[in-house]
């Protein structure tokens, strides 16, 4: 008998036109944190979906605690003590934490919420989750929502926990907290599988790491003795450059000018207050700040998605404060949105539709109101080839069928290909693997070098420092300071992100 708690042997899964998993092996020891590393679309999520019963493998054997099992549904998985935290949380927003957790497990017809709350509290305290059972989901942060998902698994006595890209939606602090929680869980004897493509996270928590590339098993490595660069190379299949190579910027005239901008947020208080910023041609300005400090409101106001309370926005010297979204786009504003599934793509439409969503009413994609499909297809093909968007059926694939990273590449491709004057990129590499990040960073710098203005909003400080020529720090909707990247460091930007401005 082996001491593997999970064994997946020779797993194969095919989708129309694509082999998602080809003879993959996965062996997880009891009480270990096991990482599955792979590029976007490498087949990590498919493999986990098979383990969780969402898909059935075409071939292969799954053993749980040494016993061969067949898992036909998430219920089967639950019965085997397997729980999963999905990338997109499955919570009812106007329910409380406790109600969400017992949903589907109410027990009898009249359920005892008090008893459940007590148990939830106990678990929360035991693993340091800091969750109160009577909080309502829509009032708590994303990081807390994720902890509710974790609680949900623990409440159902799961001892094999799958995390699908858990850090994609978290702030750096929340990531640290999550890592601690994972360590606690493992120390208590839970076995954890974490799907990710973020090497530093693997280095931080995982014991061993299974590497998958293009649906194939590549290697299983011991994390402590393998460097991040080595793992990256295994994942991508070639050596990867972490630092972006770029020349000194040669800024020109201001392309985007934001003057004394005030914007209300969803709670009807000023989300952005008295904010002024210039982004010049040929430079990348990064906005550093903790999630929820007015970045979304700022971007939406510039793009016309949110009304402006007062202040003005200029693009290329033209006042765009009160013009329509369409007119702004036509003036050369491109926007890689924060939420790719809500704003960025129409998930049930094919890539062709998505690639021309902003330009379908212009030549050559249509004339006199009639669409020209061959032009649309050709243009879409160009984008997905150039930006290496991988999908089962090429340009006819529905956007929703692409992996998250490929969806992001498609959006980035669309926005850059539209040849904008100003490119606003909000977390452009969220959820992407190192190979794709490297590529998108290069593209953003290339836009800058072409003399375009780039406004970068990112919650990852590394990315801000890597790309930006200047860094603007935002806190509670106010501009704290703008500094040259060369003349600052992560520590002082971190202080400013907390709202503390160093007096010169």
């Amino acid at each position: 008998m082996s001491n593997y708690v999970i064994e997946m042997l020779g797993i194969r899964k095919e989708f129309p036109g694509i082999v998602a998993n080809d003879n993959i092996n996965l062996q997880v020891e009891e009480g270990e944190i096991h990482a599955i590393l792979g590029e976007n679309g490498a087949g990590k999520s498919t493999l986990m979906s098979i383990l969780f019963g969402l898909y059935q493998a075409d071939k292969g054997v799954i053993k749980v605690r040494g016993k061969e099992v067949s898992i036909h549904s998430p219920n089967d998985a639950n019965d085997l003590g397997i729980g999963m935290v999905h990338q997109h949380f499955q919570l009812v927003h106007n329910f409380t934490v406790a109600e969400n957790i017992i949903l589907g497990k109410e027990g009898s017809f009249v359920y005892d919420i008090k008893k459940a709350s007590k148990k939830i509290k106990e678990i929360s305290e035991r693993y340091g989750l800091a969750i109160e059972p009577d909080m309502v989901i829509e009032d708590i942060t994303v990081g807390m929502q994720q902890r509710v998902e974790i609680l949900k698994m623990l409440y159902r006595d799961a001892d094999i926990l799958i995390f699908d890209e858990p850090t994609a939606v978290l702030t750096p602090q929340e990531i640290d907290e999550l890592m601690n929680i994972m360590r606690n869980l493992a120390a208590e004897g839970k076995s954890i599988i974490i799907i990710t493509h973020k090497l530093e996270e693997i280095k931080a928590v995982a014991k061993r790491c299974t590497v998958i590339r293009r649906g194939k098993f590549i290697d299983i490595v011991d994390v402590a003795t393998t460097s991040a660069a080595e793992m990256a190379a295994l994942m991508v299949g070639r050596p990867v450059n972490f630092k972006v190579e770029k020349q000194e910027s040669v800024p020109g005239e201001p392309i985007l000018s934001v003057k004394n901008l005030n914007v209300m947020n969803a709670k009807k208080v000023l989300g952005v207050s008295d904010f002024s910023l210039d982004v010049r041609a040929g430079e990348i300005v990064g906005i550093a700040g903790v999630d929820g400090n007015g970045q979304s409101e700022l971007v939406e106001a510039i793009c016309g998605l949110k009304p402006i309370e007062s202040g003005s926005v200029y693009l290329n010297g033209k006042d765009i404060t009160n013009i329509s979204i369409k007119e702004r786009n036509d003036l050369g504003l491109a926007h890689i949105p924060e939420d790719r599934q809500k704003r960025g793509l129409i998930l049930n439409a094919p890539l062709t539709t998505n690639m021309v969503i902003k330009e379908f009413d212009k030549a050559p994609f249509s004339s006199k109101g009639i669409l020209n499909y061959s032009e649309i297809e050709e243009y879409s093909k160009k984008i997905i080839e150039r930006f290496d968007v991988r999908s089962g059926e090429g340009i006819n694939s529905r956007a929703g069928k692409l992996s998250g990273g490929n969806q992001q590449k498609a959006i980035v491709g669309r926005e850059i290909t539209s040849q904008p004057e100003l490119l606003i990129a909000v977390n452009p590499t969220r959820g992407l693997d190192v190979g794709a990040i490297e590529y998108i960073h290069k593209e953003l710098v290339a836009e800058r070098d072409k003399g375009k203005a780039v406004l970068l909003i990112s919650f990852e400080l590394d990315e801000i420092f890597n790309l930006s020529d200047r860094i603007a720090v935002i806190n509670a909707g106010k501009l704290i300071d703008i500094v040259n990247t060369k003349e600052t460091d992560a520590h002082s930007v971190g202080l400013m992100m907390a709202g503390i401005k160093k007096e010169a």
Binding site: P16, K326, N329, I346, A349
Partner: protein, 373 residues
Amino acid sequence: MAKNTVKIKKPLMEIPFIKSMIVSLTTVLLGLIVGGILIIAIGKNPIEGFQKIVFGAVSNTRRVGNTIAYATQLILVGLSVAFAFKTGLFNIGGAGQMLMGGLMASIWAHNVTFLPQPIYYLSLILVAGISGAIWGLVPGLLKAKFNVHEVVGTIMFNWIAYWIVYDAVKVFIVDPTIIVKSKPIPMQQSLRTEWLASITQHSYFNIGFFIAIIAVVVIWFILEKTTLGFNLKAVGSNRYCAEYAGIKVNRSIVISMGIAGCLAGLAGLTYFLGFSNIMEIGKSPSEGFDGIAVALLGNSNPLGVFISALFFGMLKMGKGSLTAIGIPTEIADTIIAIIIYFTATSVIIQGFWEKIIKKHSEKKLLKQAKEEK
């Protein structure tokens, strides 16, 4: 080998239209089976029952003519609902839009007697289309401006239309002998023609059917080939993405409801000036709601709507003959209802067929592999 796999897996089920067609046919079959069981349960022979329905619907040219004449409204209301569905809206106001289209066209028909025939037909289409369109546009505006859900808005407008007809018929076009209905419209002022009547043994078959066919083609064209269709479908699939892309979402909602209302208005024209030639007060056409069933079974595809409207038309017109062998006519309506229930499970049915086809192709592969050995 690998290439073969792809080839075998690609066929039929991968083509969206064929896929939804197979699913729809399956739901129809299931509906008929359950209907058959019900007929058995009351001690009758289901085969005989279905034969009677078909007999009642298409056994001679007059019956065929009547069935098509009845299906004409279903096609147009079905298109109306389907068009709204495609753009993410639920037009439940078909009845009111039909009433307004029919009422205005009827008043027009009684008063405008001087136009040459082709221009007169065109004027009828415009009057009915515009009246229906207004009855869709206003709920669309209410949704766009004040976020009043279109279901609430259109239902309210159904009742407004109902009471307008109640009074307007009495004031403008009342039949002096029976005040609960309007004067019959003379044949040359209606959509019926001597010639169409003569080739269908004096059925209700009328040029409304050709209007419906043209509407099917036009709506298909708008949805598939034009920027307007692209625009509306984008709003229907993801309004946040549409907004981000610069599409004016509210404008699209209003346009979409306007077009949907126009189609239902035309259904009113074909119903009250073709299939029938009078308007009764205090009656709301049930076809306005049957259109929802037609759109669902037709998977909101214009051609699918056309076919499913003809099918429902057959059931509705053929059911009368069931009484001849002692089966209650409600069985036909029950079958329609059952089909709609099964339509709601189309995902399961689709999964079922995909599984079967996959098994089949695997068997084929296995066979090939054996032969190669």
